[in-house]
Amino acid sequence: MRKILPVVLLAFLLFGMTNQVNASDFVNPAALSAEIVNSDAEHSLPPVFMVIPFVTLLLLIAVMPLFAHHFWEKHYPKFSIALGTITVLYYLLVMNDTHSLLHTLAEYLSFIALLASLFVASGGILIKVDKKATPMLNVIFLLFGAVIANIIGTTGASMLLIRPFIKINQDRIKPYHIIFFIFLISNIGGALTPIGDPPLFLGFLRGVDFFWVFEHVWYMWLPTIIVVAAVFYFIDSRNNDGQEKSKEYTGQIEFKGYKNVVYLLIILISVFIDPNVISWVPNLYPLPFGIREIIMFSVVYLSYKTADKEILSSNEFDFEPIKEVAYLFIGIFATMIPALQLIAYEANLLGDKLNPGIFYWATGLLSGFLDNAPTYLNFLSAAMGKYGWDVNNAVDVHNFEIEHAVYLQAISVAAVFFGAMTYIGNGPNFMVKSISERAGIKMPSFFAYLIKYSIPILIPIFILVWLAFYYGRV
């Protein structure tokens, strides 16, 4: 309890003075950013220097594990909380803007509730695949993961599949196996449905039709997945480790922990328990969370308490990976408020000059370093603003998806795909890294990940997507 106290304190700071905020602010705890855009009218923009805590936190996450690994391991919660507190205090005391803080807290709670519940529920499931690892088997595994990421979310698929993926490859595993897992299952795979990745879910809550994403993204998703898988196959084919082992394989796939599959289903159903989706769902104003988050946090407790101890032991279940995400991301969520507001302001100013290609790159590059959900909403707000429509109006969103589908498509694809660019681009990336390191796999640093993997592999593929679908589009 002592260890999570700083997170709780910062959460309370974020919670701020709830009685100054309207009930409507809490209608949708997950939706934040577009209202931040709107709140700019009520609150002045933050000064540019307020981006410094965010940049500092990003630099610390990138640099400290390289140069002061153990110091960072021990003290990262303090840095994250301290930098987040600077931003929170500035908004409370100087800007008197509780609106942005509350929405950020609501979104953070929604984010961490989903991640924590999927992490704990999947920790009680054991999948054993007794097959000889081959590049083709790995490709099939990754493609399977990319598909089910659209059904159980990128986080659920990542948590469920990372351990069996490592086990299959344990005699030949290299960091690139994990990186491609992050590329395909933790990110790009989940671009087809609103359940797949949080930004698409925010779009769904705002009024984007459930199947719109599939209809408009599958023909970009499919070639991207195939090309990334082909690059993986090429690299994996050159890995001859483990060939000398003469182990007998039964070819069997064993699945244990059905009880926790029920918990996963509860989490997935609870995703839709939102006042914006189901009208009778109560609004819990003035609390910065909803029924959905209560269900998810309950699943965290129940799925842990009732899980098969042998499975937890086999999975070496530990709360540390989710604790790391909780600490780092509360700092990221808090410190990125000024950055998002400034970006939203600029995007709205420049809206007329921005074409789908610019929305694609801007949403994408920022999603790689900021959380992709608010980035998606800010750029969706800017794109709709070009046509005088409001992202808070479901009818406007519906009209926008029909009349200007290319913009929504560019923003959706970029927000999901580019989450794979860094460890902090999407929640599951960090957890996959952490689980892999605990299994003894030395993972590349933040910069090595960027320079050795995401820039040379993903950026050329993303350029191809841009050339094929957005280059020259107005």
Partner: protein, 121 residues
């Protein structure tokens, strides 16, 4: 002194005190994984860990952990790759993956890593 095989078959336990682990067999340590730390440097200059083979045991000191029990939670373990003293360290078949569970009373349960454990050499 017991052999590693005796330790595993007779379920003999080790001990831990603070950052020090005592294993009831003699072995070289090739790799240790503790939380997210992957330790392969056991030299005198290492800031992470060091081990010593004594007359009837092997001792490991993890310098970054004042008290191991504070960091290793219920289902977590310390993982080691060891080669028993006298065995050919260059023969990969002699590399044994061990899982150490920290129990109450300073006791360490030692088991060989089975199929279920994620542990990459």
């Amino acid at each position: 002194m017991s052999t590693l095989n005796e330790v595993l078959t007779k379920n003999l336990h080790g001990l831990y005190y603070g950052n020090r682990i005592l294993l009831p067999f003699k072995a070289d340590i090739l790799k240790a994984v503790i939380e997210k730390s992957i330790i392969t440097d056991f030299s005198d200059f290492s800031e992470q860990a060091e081990y010593e083979i004594k007359d009837n045991r092997t001792e490991i000191y993890f310098y970054e952990y004042a008290d191991l029990s504070e960091f290793i939670t219920t289902y977590e373990t310390i993982k080691l790759i060891v080669v028993e003293e006298g065995r050919d360290i260059f023969d990969i078949k002699n590399h044994i993956k061990l899982i150490l569970h920290l129990n109450d009373g300073h006791e360490i349960k030692i088991e060989e890593a089975g199929e279920n454990f994620l542990f990459i050499e």
